[in-house]
Subunit: 436 residues, 2 copies
Amino acid sequence: MNPIKVGLLGIGTVGGGTFNVLKRNQEEIRRRAGRGIEIAMVADLDVERARELTGGEVEVVNDANLVVNHPDIDIVIELIGGYGIAKTLVLQAIEQGKHVITANKALLAVHGNEIFAAAHRKGVTVAFEAAVAGGVPIIKALREGLSANRIEWIAGIINGTTNFILSEMREKGLDFDVVLKEAQRLGYAEADPTFDIEGFDAAHKVTLMSALAFGIPVQFDKAYVEGITKLEGKDIRYAEELGYRIKLLGLTRRRENGVELRVHPTLIPAKRLIANVEGAMNAVVVQGDAVGPTLYYGKGAGAEPTASAVIADLIDVTRLQTADPEHRVPHLAFQPDALSNVPVLPMDEVFTSYYLRMRVADQTGVLADITRILADAGISIDAMSQKESREDEQQTDIIVLTHVAQEKQVNAAIQRIEALPTVLSDVTRIRMEELS
Amino acid sequence: MNPIKVGLLGIGTVGGGTFNVLKRNQEEIRRRAGRGIEIAMVADLDVERARELTGGEVEVVNDANLVVNHPDIDIVIELIGGYGIAKTLVLQAIEQGKHVITANKALLAVHGNEIFAAAHRKGVTVAFEAAVAGGVPIIKALREGLSANRIEWIAGIINGTTNFILSEMREKGLDFDVVLKEAQRLGYAEADPTFDIEGFDAAHKVTLMSALAFGIPVQFDKAYVEGITKLEGKDIRYAEELGYRIKLLGLTRRRENGVELRVHPTLIPAKRLIANVEGAMNAVVVQGDAVGPTLYYGKGAGAEPTASAVIADLIDVTRLQTADPEHRVPHLAFQPDALSNVPVLPMDEVFTSYYLRMRVADQTGVLADITRILADAGISIDAMSQKESREDEQQTDIIVLTHVAQEKQVNAAIQRIEALPTVLSDVTRIRMEELS
């Protein structure tokens, strides 16, 4: 059988990795797929560099339209990124009846419904294993491996940059700004790190996982997104003393009245396996009603780890190229006509536990006032600790860990606490998940 | 579309779990699979109990042949276990053109080549996600999720009984016999625990993973199998002091001249994620050349975790029922005509590091003799520690951690060490893996 012909849009880090791994492992891949897989065309603005990388074996063009419209190309790999030209090209490739493989989580989290619908109409696949957690086959696990389960929740460390920063802050006792600079120097953070450190990248990924888990459309605009830029070293230390680690988690959870979808720094018990995922590594815990908790761990970024996912999709698509569309796994795990319209809950409606830190005057009655406000709001206290005040100070830090409560109740209580004359700072509020 | 009709052979723990999960989640499963999945017949020797469990909704028979030969049954789930009747029934079901799903690792590790060949001839699937690590979709990860990679090695905690025993021994400082009794009382160990504690169960599972990873036939008879019955609490403690945990690992590794395939107690660095997998949980680390290390974690046994894997297979098979055989993933990940004949290496040829403990006379020159023997054998020492001898004794324990060496060299060196007049005990030898 002739090799299947693939067109590659964008040969940067991941594109280069894909080209190299596909070449290096071509014999083994053919033994698995039963058919050769050949990158036949590459489109990149930097034609010279693309020619160098591909060693002259492949047709290189600078106009991606030539690839998506080429009659010999069966599969298009989109590695351009962003919402603009990438979206146009993906839709055009689908229109031309080509399968698409993409690592573009931003595109799918925002325009996925439109793209998947177009693909469904044309009977082609849009595969996106590489969009979440790099080479870790978490999309496959959610769509296929755990398909017996009613998924209850997913919690993931799905952004390597922020996990690297949090690991360094904890291990070396450094502040956010210092570690961010180090991360940029080492290449773990971009020159403009906003996308990662403000939580948007994680939110794109958890949006995709949420859709796969609960059979709902992708709804990035409904996600609550909070990054790590305001985290203080002090809270990481206090959390540690209490037996917790702070991680930027992407969380999605099924509730009776809807689905929670949120990204924020989160205290998790240090004894959980996922709490011990350090550096730029990724990990996702999925709780299913039958299987219980399962965890998936590995490199969430980088040329070859991401290429691993792109090529796994290539092999899947190659294998099913001549199959009927209904033989394929649906894009969002559930059949397109069986998606649910259960709403994504606003953050106010979310239930979780909380770590609250406040600076208070070191005087009688302060604790009584604070605990009274929490009790009045129906928020019960799991643990409380008052730090010893320094001799030259008349003030101290109080930490409160709450049991599960609703976000809006906690926000209201925080406002009342901040209004107390004995409370000298804003209340630092970090959410907490037992993940059990 | 009519529901696909499934026949269940054996409705014990896993069979009951499969029936219950399929029923409880039927709506969600239909939304995923695009088609209903119905257990239409159950065969079990205890017909009364089977009728009770299935609530009279299903035809129950005591002769499994009636199921495998029934023209309405499309898929047979084999949950009888063992090599005897189970093998006959699986082959008969295949002969009748039915797909088979099984959790029977023993059967596949020993007779898999024959069974997969028969299935290939008839164009049907034999699916076995439930055979390794319960509900953790590790078979799917190896066959599909990591298909871009040249797999380098796999290391797994794939037997919950032994991991529970080792966890308890370490945490509570108890001896093997005591913990085994506790495990039996709690239902974590069978009345006859041989299969688990002697490593055979783990060896069946790693045999399957080895075939999937390296594209070789299943070769259980070539596996090296050593259980945990001879482990002493002392070694667990010494390992801990040196920064290691002892786990029963199933290991398979690609070497230039063949494949290593072995199960034995293993020291692993305590800081590795897999070293922190405690109790009856399972975890598998897969090292791929592109993706690096990935880890998969979850419950490796139990009614519903195993049912989760059985039903995931059911959904996969249902989806591809009308597809051509070449659209399906090959049984052993590689195309049947592309399997490799690279040999499984005898244990003598294996390379690993070693923990050696010996009792020696507390006198001058002992260490010099031991280190000389190791040096002469080309075995280099990574760390050495001499325990303080008790005042009333003239003897002490010496621990040696070696760098990577070949098993036969180490065995020869151990013989020479044991022949030293100053060495008062046999040498306790536990293998060690950095897993990095």
